[in-house]
Assembly symmetry: C2
Homo-oligomer: 193 residues x 2
DNA sequence: GCTTGTCCTGACACTCAGTGCCAAAATCCC
DNA sequence: GGGATTTTGGCACTGAGTGTCAGGACAAGC
């Protein structure tokens, strides 16, 4: 690693640390890019060379890395998982891989704390969170008290996943009734539920 | 409905129609709010009274409506679904309700078309779409050609749902190993997969 | 029909995010 | 050390979104 690269990493880390600290203290929206660059001692223009946007500071390491991590985990080439595994096993292994990678980064916890504290910061991860929250709450109410929060959250996630897939299927042929797409998706869920 | 309310609805519809038309022709980013208000014949300030942001035009009807729709569908009070239904039945019914509601609005198709055509417009729905896309592609590759796209998309959705739930569980007690959270979530998935 | 209070609209000015451009400084390679 | 290349800072610009305020349109009462 050359001097230049180490220096860049240093600057990048310095910006990130300062920014996360400010977010935690003042909130995401209340912290301006000017606040960050002043505290970090870099120019405004340089900030945008290291991070493509303010939300990049929250979504960690810019665009594409999470996608790559997920893809890698599913394909699991590094682990040499048996070709004959069932999809359930693949799914479980992939979740474990990604969760492990994310949890291994100490920054993850700080980001989760900020996201828990400030709603605006949660928006950095997209509006999907709000819908998921609402659906999970509804499932919880529907189930009564006997079942726990985890299952409600999972059901909500599966529902949103099913909906997304339904729209995908339906959009290929929007003239047909959408219930046909629902049928097809639930045929795919067959055996899971 | 008073004259005032009808007038507001008229303005709102006019803005939306003009905006969607511009998005479809020029793209989401390339269309400025100034373009929209000029074409619609309202002031810039009034635009932001009707829509809280430019992306609101894509996510349809502002914040909260989709959440409400999902919640309503799960609780299913309007349908009077039997209390004793299994969660699988509830899930299916809720998906059908939401999909039906969405498909019934003619605007939905236009929005889907724009989202399909312009990547920037997809970003209005949050970054989650990109991750889902990547994961579904990975599952497709992993499964080989024998299974179809629908199942890959579903698997991707379930995986993201599981991950989100894992982080939720883990965040309550971040000192413990994240694999414990994964265990717990997959215990909830037990019987589904 | 006219007044009065309420709501809506347009206009202006402002903050902040993000980008293009160019000159100066730092780094790397020889 | 000297020259090519990369990085940086400064400046100006566009575009989104917000606060404020005066003026106009609406509903209700007389």
């Amino acid at each position: 690693m050359s001097l230049r690269e180490r220096k860049q990493q240093l600057v990048r880390d310095a910006i990130w640390d300062v920014a996360i600290d400010l977010f935690a203290r003042k909130g995401f929206d209340a912290t301006t890019v000017d606040d960050i660059v002043e505290a970090a001692g870099v120019s405004r223009r340089s900030f945008f060379r290291y991070f493509s946007s303010k939300t990049d500071l929250m979504t960690q390491s810019g665009s594409g890395r999470y996608e790559a991590m997920v893809t890698e985990a599913i394909l699991g080439s590094a682990r040499g998982r048996a070709k004959g595994s069932t999809m359930g096993e693949v799914l479980r292994g992939a979740v474990l891989d990604v969760a492990g990678c994310v949890a291994a980064e100490p920054r993850t916890l700080k980001i989760l704390e900020i996201a828990a504290k400030y709603p605006e910061a949660r928006a950095a991860f997209g509006r999907a969170g709000d819908v998921h929250e609402a659906a999970a709450g509804a499932f919880r109410r529907r189930m009564g008290k006997k079942k726990d929060r985890v299952e409600a959250s999972l059901l909500a996630g599966v529902m949103l996943a099913a909906l997304r897939t339904v729209f995908e299927v339906w959009f290929e042929n929007p003239r047909q009734d959408i219930s046909v797409a629902v049928e097809r998706v639930f045929a795919g869920l067959e055996g899971w539920i």
